[in-house]
């Protein structure tokens, strides 16, 4: 971690500058302020998180008991499909882009993002995409129902809801690409004098590499869904064997995007954790350089392992072996990260405030998700477990306990900087333990269900799966309620209900330029760059 001088007096840059921000009702529609835009990203993310969560609860309600009780099978399929897309593109990714918008200029000592106007467009493209996705439930034929991976031939036979999905993917892709170009340019060109690349906070490093992944893979996904669209409406046969095409080709192109996408979600989460664990261990991050190299290695490897999602499609044995070994290789840099975090905590003077708790939860559960990933990377094992609940359990350990927990950690860690108020520690801790327990009640039994052979994406199941499904559904509803509790905590923080004003640096172990500006951060910061020694 950079040895950022802490002697910047508060208000160093803005002592002459009153905190004047526009007050008209158009403020958020036309803003070019990275803090406004970051805030909008986060609220959008939360709304989509609740929408996707309601879909998930629809799924779990149906699976509470065997038989068909709550939703029709067609609607069940739409719910699983849209739950995936909405959570990935609507909830997790925008949350981390929101953190990037708020924190990168503050961490780098930049006046704003490199392209402030385009930044606002990146955000405002998301509501139209959300309208297309949610609206598709209400058109004839309903929403896309072939799974979030949009595999043909189902996606080619589907109704107009699939067209809305395709255009939503296009729009979200454009948003991601513009956002990523903005982030890369900001990091490469707007760092304060003296902040060399290897002095940057880890959050900036992980976002630099994530943005590269996004620019490299989002266009590929756009190409894939464009071919779906022409197959659907214009008589092409890219994914149709009758015309010499191949439905499996879609899977190759999709997963060329889809596997890096996993790290697009995970890397910024790693970045958040790499900020918080040192802060609450009161030690610098262990192995900073190796963290950077591990992040870059993960990114590069993510491009050459895609077919481990496709072991059952009839790959040649040589291909299966290659993808198995390449996939296992990713465990090496990932383990380097895990051990670096552990070594950071070693002999640190650790306190367990809510952000740290969520990071420890992340560490424990993400590692478990990583181990089940290792299990699934074994071709012969995966052939048994493919499309079972074991896979569902695996990626929810990575996505929920990994990415979502670190997003919670970020909100508690940086929230005082955003709002100027501390959250209520007791409530935060309740939120953590409630989420942790409910999460494990929901998803741990799904390992058992998958190993016993329960397939995913099916609204009904055999009687022997009944007990664990009931447990899982109870856990899911408890987890959902915990997140309503979470937003209540956040609203109380915004309103200052704790009664404790946040200091410029509320965490004594925290490091970085973001803690040199007052809390809440003034509307304009670092209009002239600070000097980092």
């Amino acid at each position: 971690m950079a040895s950022v001088p802490q002697d910047h007096s508060h208000g160093h840059d803005h002592s002459h500058d009153h905190d004047h921000h526009p007050t008209s009702w158009t403020r958020f529609f036309t803003t070019t302020n990275h803090k406004d835009i970051g805030t909008m990203y986060m609220w959008f993310s939360f709304v989509m998180f609740i929408s996707g969560g309601i879909m998930a609860l629809g799924i779990r309600a149906e699976l509470f008991q065997p038989g068909l009780q709550v939703v029709r099978p067609e609607l069940f399929n739409q719910l699983t499909t849209l739950h995936g897309i909405v959570m990935i593109f609507g909830a997790i990714m925008p949350a981390f882009v929101g953190f990037a918008n708020w924190m990168l200029p503050l961490q780098l000592g930049a006046p704003d993002m490199a392209f402030a106007r385009m930044n606002n467009w990146s955000f405002w493209l998301l509501p139209p995409a959300a309208i297309l996705l949610i609206g598709s439930f209400f058109v004839p034929g309903g929403a896309a129902a072939g799974g979030w991976t949009l595999y043909p031939p189902l996606s080619i036979q589907a109704g107009m809801g699939m067209d809305m999905m395709i255009f939503a993917v296009h729009i979200m892709g454009a948003s991601s690409i513009m956002g990523s170009i903005n982030i890369i340019t900001t990091i490469l060109n707007l760092r304060a004098p003296g902040m060399t690349l290897m002095k940057m906070p880890m959050f900036a490093w992980t976002w630099l590499i994530t943005a590269f992944l996004l620019i490299a893979t989002m266009p590929v996904l756009a190409g894939a869904v464009t071919m779906l669209l022409t197959d659907r409406h214009f008589g092409t046969t890219f994914f149709n064997a009758a015309g010499g095409g191949d439905p499996v080709m879609f899977q190759h192109i999709f997963w060329f995007f889809g596997h890096p996408e996993v790290y697009i979600i995970a890397l910024p989460a790693f970045g958040v954790v790499s900020q918080i664990i040192p802060a609450f261990s009161r030690k610098p991050l262990f192995g900073y350089a190796s963290m950077v190299y591990a992040t870059a290695s993960i990114a590069i490897l993510s491009f050459i392992v895609w077919a481990h999602h496709m072991y059952t499609t009839g790959l040649p044995a040589a291909g299966q072996l290659y993808f198995m070994y390449a996939t296992m290789l990713i465990a090496v840099p990932t383990a380097a990260k895990i051990f670096n975090w552990l070594a950071t905590m070693w002999k640190g003077s650790i306190t367990l405030e809510t952000p740290m708790l969520f990071c420890l939860g992340f560490l424990f559960l993400f590692t478990m998700g990583g181990f089940t990933g290792l299990v699934l990377s074994l071709t012969p094992v995966d052939i048994q477990l493919h499309d079972t609940y074991y896979v569902v359990a695996h990626f929810h350990y990575v996505m929920v306990a990994g990415a979502l927990f670190s997003a919670f950690a970020a909100v508690y860690y940086w929230g005082p900087k955003w709002t100027g108020w501390m959250y209520e520690e007791k409530l935060g801790k309740i939120h953590f333990w409630w989420s942790l327990i409910a999460f494990n009640v929901t998803f741990f039994p799904q390992h058992f269900l998958g190993l016993a052979g329960m397939p995913r994406r099916i609204p009904d199941y055999n009687l022997q799966f009944a007990n664990w499904n009931m447990v899982s559904s109870v856990g899911a509803f408890a987890f959902g309620i915990a997140q309503i509790f979470f937003i209540w905590i956040v609203i109380r923080m915004i309103r200052g209900k704790s009664g404790i004003r946040a200091a410029a640096k509320p965490w004594d172990g925290a490091e970085g330029l973001e803690w040199t500006v007052p809390s809440p951060a003034p509307y304009h910061t670092f209009e002239t760059p600070p000097v980092v020694k």
């Binding site: 297309l132 266009p219 060329f256």
Partner: protein
């Protein structure tokens, strides 16, 4: 950037004031998406919404780029902003490379894997007579076509695009040498070559449909042929529009010998489109 022109803003990074254009742009994409869904599903309102979306998009493009040009001419962009523009245009072109990669990948996959596989021993039961040679309509589509030859119009088009790159470089050198009229002349010639290229592409498509029975529906060959050339043609169109805007700005006296990134960005884009065509010419027409 001229060193003297931004002395007062030295060290300050230009952050634009609030702007309505992002919101207008989002509205246009929302309308375009719904319009496209409507037209593709044969709904009456589709075309109207599509037209409205296009109108709003044009309004946004004129407004937004108009603002950027005004700011640029007011010398609000310092050296730092110029560097940002260079990074962003490079990464944008990289994203376009990856977009094309998806379609090139589809062509490669079809030729190297799926077509041979459909004629393999495993598929003999389904399609005993399918030879698996390229070009093909696939095993089930019975509508024979003649593939597009490489050495007619496509070869001429290759020459046109390569030469247009040369003319563009001449124009750039003239601009750097402060010879504005020469820069305008060669830039106009560049655009003319681009337009002729597009006209020949249109003629080629008509020829394919009318004489060769080569259509979008001609199986995997037609799919990849029209997707790759059509997508490229769209990019040539965009590139030509970018160059045309730069031409108008040159004629109005914008740009200086040192400060003309819009020209350079459009030129980078044009060269990128050239390079894609060379790849296309080899794998779509020659091989």
């Amino acid at each position: 950037m001229g060193a003297s022109s931004h002395a007062s803003t030295a060290g300050k990074y230009y952050v634009p004031e609030s702007s309505i254009w992002p919101l207008v742009g989002s509205l246009s994409l929302l309308l375009l998406a719904f319009g496209a869904v409507g037209t593709m599903n044969k709904l009456n309102w589709g075309w109207w919404v599509l037209a409205a979306g296009t109108a709003v998009l044009l309004y946004m493009l004129f407004g937004w780029f108009g603002d950027v040009i005004k700011e640029s001419e007011a010398r609000l962009y310092g050296k730092n902003v110029d560097t940002s523009f260079r990074w962003s245009m490079s990464w944008f072109i990289f994203s376009e490379v990856m977009f094309f990669a998806a379609f090139f990948g589809a062509l490669g996959f079809a030729r190297l894997h799926s077509v041979p596989d459909l004629s393999s021993i495993d598929a003999k039961l389904l399609w005993p007579n399918f030879a698996g040679t390229w070009p093909t309509t696939g095993p089930y589509i019975d509508s024979p076509f003649t593939p597009m030859g490489a050495w007619g119009i496509p070869a001429i088009n290759t020459l046109l695009l390569l030469l247009s790159g040369v003319w563009l470089t001449l124009s750039h050198h003239a601009l750097i040498a402060n010879n504005r009229s020469k820069a305008i002349f060669w830039l106009a010639v560049t655009i003319l070559f681009g337009v002729v290229f597009l006209a020949l592409q249109v003629y080629e498509y008509i020829h394919a449909y009318r004489d060769l029975n080569l259509k979008l529906t001609s199986g995997i060959f037609g799919s990849t042929f029209f997707m790759l050339t059509g997508f490229h043609g769209f990019h040539v169109t965009v590139g030509a529009i970018m160059l045309a805007v730069v031409l108008v700005r040159l004629m109005r006296g914008h740009f200086t010998a040192q400060n003309h990134f819009a020209f350079e960005a459009a030129a980078w884009y044009w060269h990128f489109v050239d390079v894609v065509w060379l790849g296309l010419f080899v794998v779509v027409y020659l091989l």
